[in-house]
């Protein structure tokens, strides 16, 4: 009895015991649900497995960045829907950041009216459910727009109606891939040279000679021009044109995309504005006074003192906002934007009936996106921390 007690009181044994219990509980739980699910599926004759990914879908979706039609497979549908999710998230993140920073800064300004409007904006948007805002924007955007035949047109190039904003879009011909890789490589080279010259300036205290630049930029330009010629790039503008019911040709921004994008970026912008505000407020006043004392202009104080300092405080919550925005893009399901939740966890799930497989795929995708954004922002954050001296 005594020995048993002493064993129980031994911390190492106890900790192993706890872990064994946790592990067995987890294993049992999964065994329980997997067993139930498989017996349910088998006994009721419900199809299972991932074979459906290779079968054709038989239906269309509203818009897609890659080629997709009703003879494509479910796997391709998955990719197309995923790209739509990423597209709306990416663009909304950019605009939410712009809105957030401007509103946050205006809110802290000494302008009596503007700062109050900014405060009202933040407090209104943050306290109303996003789903309601998405509905509002969708129907508010849709209602006043005219039908395609009565489109509002700008110079006969851009048309606005309740099917969306129709824009001319360039169609490139020739060796497009080659051309773009040259553009990207040149941009990277220029960035690299810029960094090098900055390093030089910091260590030597003077700028590089102009000739140093000439020797690099002119050959680069020459090579790029030569490749451009060789690639034989032709630009053919595809113009939107009213044929029958709708505009054909050109690109289109659909009302669904627009409503989701506006709702996501204004809502998240309000949160980012608060992060920016608290970031700026966390800065030591002495820094700003010092900057003013050495004669920096207000704009330069913002640019060189406040923003870089505040960024360190802002970035961690900013990451969170980006993650939240990406997850919130799933509200597309409410307004017909073909994202992964509407198309894959919606249509595909209903057509195939394979709820378990499809929902697992969708959840894993979001998990993966979250982890990637977290990773990227961690790297960026480290960069900001490193230059701290």
């Amino acid at each position: 009895m005594k020995s048993l007690l002493s064993i129980l009181n031994n911390t190492r044994i106890r900790s192993i015991g706890y872990q064994v219990i946790t592990l067995s509980l987890v294993v049992l739980f999964f065994a329980f649900i997997i067993n139930n699910a498989s017996s349910n599926l088998v006994e009721q004759g419900i199809a299972s497995g991932f074979d459906f990914l290779n079968s054709t879908t038989g239906f269309d979706i509203a818009s897609s960045l890659i080629h997709y039609d009703s003879s494509s497979t479910y796997l391709r549908l998955f990719n197309a829907a995923l790209l739509n999710t990423l597209l709306v998230s990416f663009i909304s993140i950019i605009f939410a950041t712009i809105i957030g920073f401007s509103v946050g800064i205006i809110r802290l300004s000494n302008h009596p009216i503007a700062s109050r409007i900014a405060a009202a904006y933040v407090e209104t948007l943050r306290n109303i459910p996003l789903l309601l805002q998405v509905f509002f924007w969708y129907f508010a955007v849709l209602q006043p727009l005219p039908s395609p035949r009565a489109s509002i047109d700008f110079f006969n190039l851009v048309f606005l109606n309740n099917r969306g904003l129709h824009l001319p879009s360039p169609e490139l011909s020739g060796h497009v891939g080659l051309f773009f890789s040259v553009v990207i490589i040149s941009a990277l080279l220029l960035l690299y040279w810029y960094k090098q010259s900055k390093k030089y300036r910091i260590s030597k205290g003077r700028n590089r000679n102009k000739s140093w630049w000439y020797w690099r930029v002119i050959p680069l330009l020459a090579v790029s021009l030569a490749i451009y010629n060789a690639a034989n790039i032709g630009v053919n503008w595809s113009l939107p044109e009213l044929t029958g019911f709708n505009f054909e040709g050109g690109g289109v921004i659909t009302p669904e995309f627009f409503a989701l994008f506006i709702a996501l970026s204004t809502y998240t912008g309000a949160y980012i504005a608060e992060n920016v505000r608290s970031g700026i407020q966390s800065i030591d006043k002495g820094q700003v006074e010092a900057a003013r004392a050495i004669g920096l202009s207000p704009f330069n104080i913002m640019r060189f003192i406040i923003i870089p300092n505040a960024m360190r405080v802002i970035i961690p919550p900013l990451t969170n906002q980006y993650l939240t925005l990406t997850k919130n893009s799933s509200l597309a399901a409410a307004i017909a934007y073909p994202d992964i939740v509407l198309v894959f966890a919606g249509t595909a799930l209903n057509q195939t009936g394979q709820a378990v497989e499809i929902l697992l795929m969708v959840m894993l995708v979001y998990l993966f996106i979250s982890l990637v954004i977290a990773l990227l922002m961690n790297i960026y954050n480290k960069h900001f921390l490193l230059i701290e001296r």
Binding site: G45, I61, F245, E248, G346, G353
Partner: protein, 337 residues
């Protein structure tokens, strides 16, 4: 530690023991009510009024079954389901019968673990457009934007129809029919496609119903019917034959109002129907007057049709295929004996 682990394994094995499904018929009799999966609200099929009383074609099917099994058509528990949750609700026993404008297809019958017990409405997919577009035929719809519900057979039908006719189109898909209707009404789409009966119901909800027409063409077969769980034949039979009883009654010209006048009938078919002779009730494990109860509660097929979607309703959908075989339709009751 060992005892702990052992007791865990023991309790786990208890949890994991497969519990057999009790037969649905017995469950329903014990519970005293039929759990019926319906829509969230579709005029003519299953629609709650402001007091929460359900009415419609699909609702009457459930009421008929409650009358047959329990002798009381009001003993139905309505469970609103969405197009996404409907099959799961049936598979997992949340509902006993799915009566929710659901199209009978091979893949649903085989892959989803359910059985369709018959057809209560032969419908087909159609198109609704604005009158001022001046369109007469679906073949003129090249390049149109089309609003529809996601998760239904309409999506695949549309893709088939447009590619077969070499036409272009753009889809706008919504989860809920109320959103499809408002988006179409606001002009987001040129065309609203759905089952024709559903279109007739949605047309009434437009701001100006008269501005919209439903095109003549029908591009698909949509046999709508109630479904039950796969593998419970007893219950499957009850639902199947309750549907047949509705049609049989119309063939025999038995209605809700005249059923009592047949009491002393000499016609053996009617006598079997009323349960005064034969063993129909016993074979189905139901009361002998099961089919008479159905008619007393909801009327025969023709009455149900007229009341909910036909000439006596707002929808006024012509009976078409849903006439009796003897009148040129395809309704045909399998003999009840």
């Amino acid at each position: 530690m060992r005892t702990i682990t052992a007791s865990f394994l023991f309790s786990a094995s208890l949890l994991l023991m497969p519990t057999a499904f009790a037969s649905t018929l017995d469950t329903v009799k014990d519970r005293g009510s039929v759990k019926c999966g319906v829509t969230n609200g579709l005029t003519g099929f299953s629609n709650p009024d402001k007091q929460g009383n359900w009415e419609g074609m699909d609702v009457d099917v459930c009421r008929a079954i409650a009358a047959a099994v329990l002798g009381d058509a009001s003993k139905v528990t309505y469970v609103p389901t969405s197009s996404k949750t409907r099959f799961t609700a049936l598979q997992t026993g949340e509902i006993d019968i799915l009566s929710r404008v659901t199209t009978w297809t091979l893949s649903r019958d085989s892959k989803l673990g359910l059985n369709f017990a018959g057809v209560n409405l032969y419908d087909g997919q159609g198109f609704m457009v604005r009158k001022d577009l001046g369109i007469k035929s679906a073949k003129e719809l090249n390049g149109a934007s089309i609003c529809m519900n996601t998760g239904t057979s309409t999506e695949t039908n549309i893709a088939d129809f447009f590619s077969a006719n070499n036409l272009n189109y753009k889809t706008v898909l919504f989860e809920k029919s109320s959103e499809v209707a408002s988006a179409y009404d606001l002009g987001r789409c040129d065309v609203y496609t759905s089952d024709k009966s559903g279109l007739a119901a949605q047309r009434l909800k437009m701001q100006k119903p008269d501005d919209h027409i439903i095109l003549e063409e029908t591009i698909s077969k949509e046999p709508l019917g109630p479904a039950v769980r796969h593998g419970d034949d007893e219950w499957f039979d009850v639902v199947k034959w309750s549907l047949m009883a509705l049609i049989e009654a119309e063939e025999l010209a038995i209605t809700q109002s005249n059923i009592d006048t047949f009491k002393n009938t000499k016609n053996p078919r009617i006598a079997r129907f009323l349960g005064t002779s034969g063993e129909n009730g016993k074979n189905l494990k139901l009361a002998p007057e099961w089919s008479a109860n159905i008619i007393k509660a909801v009327g025969n097929y023709g009455e149900i049709y007229a009341r909910n979607v036909g000439e006596k309703s707002q929808l006024k959908i012509p009976r078409g295929l849903n006439k009796l075989w003897s009148d040129g339709g395809i309704l045909y009751a399998i003999p009840l004996h």
